[in-house]
C-alpha cells in the first residue's frame, strides 16, 4: 500500500461519525461608515490612508510622499514620473532595487484594513514584498465590512496567487518592540480613488 493509501486507511479505520458543517452568517452589523472604519484600523497598524485632495493628482501625491524615490514601478500610467518596467520576467537584481511599487487593490476590508491583491495586479509576484515601499490604489466603493464578505468577492476560478495585505511589514520579535519594515515594505499608503 502506498503511504498515501495507508494514511487514508488509518484515518478511515477510526470510523468517525460525520459531524455537521455549520453555515457561516455574514455578521453584518448594519453600520455604513466603512471608509472611516477602514482608515482608523489602517492607521492603528502603521499604514497611511489617503484620498486625493481637490485638484491633486496621483502623481502629486506620490511625489509628495516619496520625494526621493528613484526607481518606481506602477501598474497604472503616471504622467511625468519615469517608471521601471516590471514583468514576470524581471530579474532579481532589478526587483531588489525598487523603491516604490504602486499597485491596484481589488477591494478593502473595513474590519482589519486588509486589501486584496491578486497576482494579476502585482506585475511580478515578488514586487509587493521586495519593493522598499508600497502604494495600493482602491476605489472608494470597493469596501467590504468583514472577511466573510471579502471571500464572496474573490474570484476562486482565476485565483493563482493572491494576498490580503494589511499595513506595512512589521515585527516585534526583539523584546516585543514593534518595528515597522521587517522584510517587506517599510511603508504602506492606501489611496482611495
Amino acid at each position: 500500500m502506498s503511504v498515501r493509501d495507508s494514511i487514508l486507511a488509518k484515518i478511515r479505520s477510526n470510523n468517525l461519525t460525520e459531524l455537521p458543517l455549520p453555515e457561516i452568517p455574514f455578521f453584518n452589523d448594519g453600520r455604513t461608515d466603512l471608509l472611516a472604519r477602514y482608515k482608523t484600523v489602517l492607521t492603528s497598524i502603521g499604514g497611511t490612508p489617503r484620498e486625493l485632495a481637490e485638484a491633486e493628482t496621483l502623481e502629486d501625491l506620490i511625489r509628495e510622499v516619496y520625494p526621493d524615490a528613484e526607481r518606481i514601478a506602477s501598474s497604472v500610467p503616471l504622467a511625468g514620473i519615469p517608471l521601471v518596467t516590471i514583468s514576470d520576467e524581471t530579474d532579481k537584481a532589478t526587483l531588489e532595487a525598487m523603491d516604490v511599487a504602486i499597485l491596484k487593490g481589488e477591494f478593502a476590508v473595513a474590519e482589519n484594513a486588509a486589501i486584496w491583491v491578486p497576482e494579476a495586479n502585482m506585475l511580478n509576484r515578488a514586487l509587493p514584498f521586495i519593493s522598499q515601499h508600497l502604494v495600493l490604489l482602491v476605489e472608494k466603493d470597493k469596501l467590504v465590512l468583514n472577511m466573510h464578505e471579502a471571500y464572496e468577492h474573490i474570484d476562486t476560478e482565476s485565483l493563482s496567487y493572491g494576498v490580503f495585505i494589511a499595513g506595512p511589514s512589521k515585527t516585534a520579535d526583539i523584546e516585543q518592540s514593534l518595528v515597522i519594515g521587517a522584510h517587506g515594505a517599510r511603508s504602506l499608503v492606501v489611496v482611495f480613488l
Binding site: L16, P22, I24, V41, Y151
Partner: protein, 464 residues
C-alpha cells in the same frame, strides 16, 4: 540544541528558568500583556463567541471526514499543477524534502530560505538538512535569532520571547557584525533585514509552513507579519510547503472565520500583515510541492478524549495565558510545540518521553477559555494524567510536579508584589479564589465529576 539525549524534565527546567527572577518576571508580564491585547480586540467583535463556535464546528466536521477532504485537496492541488507528497512520519517528511532539493541541486550546497513552520520543527528538519549539506536559513526574525544561537524556538508565535534586547544584540554582534552594545530594536531589525535580503535573493528553494489548506480549491494560506514567506517563495525556483494533515478546511469561505480568529487570538492584531493564498506555481517554470504529514495525527484522531486537540490553529493564546508557561518558559517543555496544547500533543507522539508535560499545568482552565477553536485543553491535560498514571509513566509525578509548581508560584518575586498580591492571585491562580481547601485537585477544576470510575473509563478508552 536540545535533543532527546539530554532531555530535562519540565519541573527541573522550570527551576532553571526562574533562577533569573527579573527575566522570569519580564517573561510573565510580557506574555500577560499579549493576552490582554487579545482580550481587548476580541471584545470589539460582538460575534466573537459565535466565531469560536463556528471555528470549532468547522474543524470538528473536517476531522470527522478527514480522509475525504485530504483526497479532495490532493486532487485539486494536482489539477493546479502542484506536486503532492505524503509522509507517514518525520523521517519520511525529511527525506521527501531532501529528495526535492537534491533533484534541483544534485551537487554542491543547496541554498534554502524558510519561513515559520512548526511542523518542520516537530520533524527536526533543519538539523537533518544541514547534516546533508543544505544551507537552511530561517527568515522569520525571531527564528533567525534563535537559529544563530543554536536554540529551538521557545514560543510558536514569538520564537525568541525568552530573550532580551541585549541577548539579541550580542548574537547579532557575533554573527552579523553589528555594533557591540547597540540594543536598539530598530537598528537590530534593520541589520537582520539587510542580512536576510541577501539570503532571499540567493536562495533557489523556499520552504513554508501552512496555516490553512482548502480542500475545495487545492490552495493554501500562509500568514506572516514580516512578509518573509512571500519574499522567499516568490524569488525561489522551488516552493515546498509542509503541513500536518489536520490543517485542512473544507471551503475557501471558511477562511473568513479562521482569519478573523487567528491574529486576534495570537497577538491582538486585527489580521496578520500578509495572508497569502498560494494556489498555482508562477508561470516561469516555478515548481510547487506540498508535503502532507501524518506523524501521529491519525493516531490522535483515534483517541476520542484527545481527538479535538487536532483542531488547533497554533495561535498560542493558550501559552500566553498559562501561568505555568509564563513562569517556566517554552524550553522547559522540551517539545517543538510548548505550552498547554503542546502538553497534549507531545504525549501522543511519545508517552514516555513526555509524561511530565500534562503535569505542567494548574488545570486552571484559562487555556480552554481563550482557545479560538474551543479545545477543552485543561480537561485533556487531566485525562492524560489519568492515562499516564495508569500506564505507570507518571514519575512519582503528582508529588514531584506539584512541588515544582509550588516552587514556581512561591517564588520570591511573587511576594515582592506586596499589595498587588490579590490581583496577582486572581490573574495567575484563579482557582485559588474559589477553592480554599484543595487548590490543585478540586471538583471545580476537574472536567466535571467523572460519572464512571477511572478504571472503567480507562478500560473503555485505552487504545490497544
Amino acid at each position: 540544541m536540545q535533543t532527546d539525549q539530554h532531555l530535562i524534565p519540565h519541573a527541573e527546567a522550570a527551576n532553571q528558568f526562574i533562577k533569573d527572577e527579573e527575566r522570569t518576571d519580564w517573561h510573565d508580564q510580557t506574555l500577560w500583556f499579549v493576552r490582554q491585547k487579545r482580550d481587548k480586540i476580541a471584545h470589539t467583535i460582538p460575534e466573537w463567541e459565535d466565531l469560536r463556535e463556528l471555528g470549532s464546528q468547522i474543524k470538528n466536521h473536517t476531522l470527522s471526514r478527514l480522509d475525504h477532504y485530504l483526497a479532495q485537496f490532493e486532487a485539486n492541488a494536482k489539477a493546479n499543477g502542484v506536486h503532492v507528497h505524503w509522509a507517514a512520519n518525520a523521517k519520511e517528511h525529511n527525506e521527501i524534502v531532501l529528495g526535492i532539493i537534491r533533484k534541483h541541486s544534485p551537487t554542491g550546497i543547496a541554498k534554502m530560505v524558510k519561513s515559520k513552520s512548526m511542523l518542520t520543527e516537530e520533524c527536526h528538519m533543519n538539523e537533518y538538512l544541514i547534516s546533508q549539506g543544505v544551507e537552511v536559513i530561517d527568515t522569520d526574525l525571531g527564528e533567525r535569532i534563535v537559529q544563530l544561537r543554536q536554540e529551538p524556538p521557545s514560543h510558536i508565535v514569538m520564537p525568541a520571547i525568552h530573550l532580551k534586547k541585549a541577548d539579541v544584540s550580542d548574537t547579532f554582534h557575533e554573527h552579523l557584525g553589528t555594533e557591540k552594545g547597540n540594543n536598539d530594536p530598530q537598528y537590530l531589525t534593520e541589520a537582520a533585514r539587510q542580512h536576510l535580503r541577501e539570503k532571499f535573493v540567493g536562495a533557489s528553494i523556499a520552504i513554508t509552513g501552512v496555516n490553512f489548506a482548502v480542500a475545495e480549491t487545492g490552495g493554501f494560506v500562509v500568514c506572516t507579519n514580516e512578509g518573509n514567506a512571500d519574499l522567499g517563495v516568490n524569488l525561489a525556483d522551488v516552493h515546498i510547503a509542509c503541513m500536518g494533515i489536520e490543517k485542512i478546511i473544507p471551503q475557501q469561505k471558511h477562511l473568513g472565520v479562521f482569519l478573523r480568529l487567528l491574529a486576534r487570538s495570537a497577538t491582538g492584531q486585527p489580521v496578520t500583515t500578509y495572508s497569502s493564498h498560494f494556489r498555482k506555481p508562477r508561470r516561469q517554470g516555478q515548481e510547487m510541492h506540498i508535503v502532507l504529514v501524518d506523524n501521529g495525527r491519525s493516531t490522535q484522531l483515534g483517541r476520542p478524549d484527545f481527538r479535538n486537540s487536532l483542531k488547533c490553529i497554533r495561535c498560542a493564546a493558550c501559552f500566553n495565558t498559562c501561568p505555568v508557561y509564563r513562569r517556566s518558559g517554552g524550553h522547559s517543555y522540551h517539545n517543538a510545540v510548548a505550552g498547554p496544547i503542546g502538553s497534549i500533543l507531545a504525549p501522543n507522539l511519545d508517552m514516555r518521553k513526555n509524561a511530565d508535560l500534562p503535569f505542567a499545568s494548574t488545570l486552571c482552565g484559562s487555556c480552554s477559555n481563550v482557545c479560538p477553536v474551543k479545545i477543552d485543553i485543561h480537561d485533556q491535560l487531566w485525562k492524560w494524567r489519568q492515562v499516564l498514571m495508569a500506564e505507570g509513566l507518571a514519575p512519582a509525578s503528582k508529588k514531584v510536579s506539584m512541588q515544582a509548581m509550588a516552587t514556581v508560584f512561591s517564588h520570591p518575586a511573587v511576594y515582592r508584589l506586596g499589595g498587588k498580591i490579590g490581583r496577582w492571585t486572581v490573574k495567575n491562580l484563579p482557582f485559588l479564589v474559589n477553592n480554599k481547601l484543595n487548590p490543585w485537585y478540586t471538583q471545580r477544576e476537574m472536567p466535571a465529576a467523572p460519572p464512571e470510575s477511572f478504571q472503567e473509563w480507562y478500560a473503555k478508552n485505552r487504545k490497544k
